[in-house]
Symmetry: C2
DNA sequence: TGTCAATCTTGACGATGACAAGACTGGAGG
DNA sequence: CCTCCAGTCTTGTCATCGTCAAGATTGACA
């Protein structure tokens, strides 16, 4: 968990908190995991941190700005996860594609709160996606498209255009991630490990036909 | 659009609205499409309908109850769409599976507001899924699993268990639907028609291996 | 016509996001 | 050591929201 960090309450009697901005973000993530997006209120965060109700406003213009920051950090970590997965995978483009897909799902398992904000409507309501956020999210998609292009070029990939291949793969892993985070997938796969294994099988069967584990029926 | 209906404002001077309950649901859907989930407030709906701010409370205990009702209606329409797609499809189980998947995506295209409430965190925050809602959503999944089972039995379906086949298919169509509703897919496919066509291709390449143009490996 | 349950209104309360104005803190420069 | 000041936080306030309680209006039925 490279992202989570200890959250420090203000030392009572001390006027300054130390790093309220950081603490607000971390606490928001914690609250999202515990009680959902709707439970994130600036006042609740302030209470948790032992700080006045208006203190958060000095670090984030409004509630939306906090979510934008969370999403931006999330996308940065997300891109890193995808890229490092691609880098450490075998040189075979199809294997890289599988690695990226699995990294996508794994990120959702490990950072559900970030994903909720990034995709789950945490933003998008008041909607202004600032440039930094937009750039990071597009970078994430480009990693996928580039690898898909390479895979398509190197092997006789599954049918369809590169566009379809990339979007289809994206949809598969995105769907798996969402169904896990929102709950439904937990009824089919009880533990994260089981779910991740299933994800690996499904990704393999979509991308890397050659590596598909022997049909076990 | 079998769901949308005209929304009637209260005739001024008349004390009763006529069918405020229905109007609240329909107006909520309209607001969601126009301004997102967060814009749905009981007071705003009341204003739109020319009714006092507390009137909605007599039809839905709280905001959550309204969303529950919207979701329940959504799942009913959803199940109907899936089942009727399966019924009208060719008798080949694989073709039926494709038809169901495409119906899933098409439902999302045609009823984005419902889907936002059903899957997009409209509920699940305050969370109590009442039995009626739970039952409908499980019915939807069962349609998919049953057809997948039949497909698996009849043909040498793709590798893996029925569980994986059903969940993989679900993930693919769910992912496509979400990426369309949340926006990202619109950058790849400009119009609903283009998107739907791509969905059909991807679904076919996942489910109906026999119909896949290029054999893999 | 009289009654009554359903429906809607008015008024109020606590909580939230946001704004304004003032108080505290710690470091830079005299 | 003292003073000043930008950054940080607090207090106080407002409009809006969801929710509750109590009362007013309506239409249907006896």
């Amino acid at each position: 968990m490279p992202i989570a960090k200890p959250v420090r309450r203000k030392r009572p009697g001390h006027y300054h908190h130390g790093d309220l901005r950081r603490a607000l973000i971390d606490t928001a993530l914690r609250v999202i995991e515990e009680d959902g997006l709707a439970a994130v209120t600036t006042r609740a965060l302030a209470r948790r941190l032992g700080v006045s109700h208006a203190a958060p406003a000095h670090h984030f213009r409004d509630r939306e700005a906090l979510f934008v920051e969370v999403a931006t950090e999330g996308f940065q970590a997300f891109v890193n996860a995808l890229e490092s997965a691609a880098a450490t995978a075998a040189s075979d483009p199809n294997a890289r594609l599988c690695a990226i897909g699995l990294a996508y799902v794994r990120f959702a398992i490990e950072h559900p709160a970030h994903v909720r904000v990034m995709f789950g409507g945490g933003l998008r309501e008041g909607v202004r996606w600032p440039p930094a956020l937009k750039r990071e999210s597009e970078r994430a998609y480009r990693v996928l498209v580039d690898t898909a292009t390479a895979a398509r070029a190197s092997t006789g990939a599954p049918s369809g255009s590169v566009q379809d291949l990339a979007f289809g793969g994206w949809s598969l892993v995105h769907g798996m991630a969402m169904l896990w985070i929102d709950g439904p997938a937990r009824q089919t796969y009880a533990t994260p490990a089981q779910f991740e294994a299933a994800a690996a099988r499904l990704i393999a069967s979509m991308f890397c036909c050659s590596e598909r584990p022997a049909a076990k029926d």
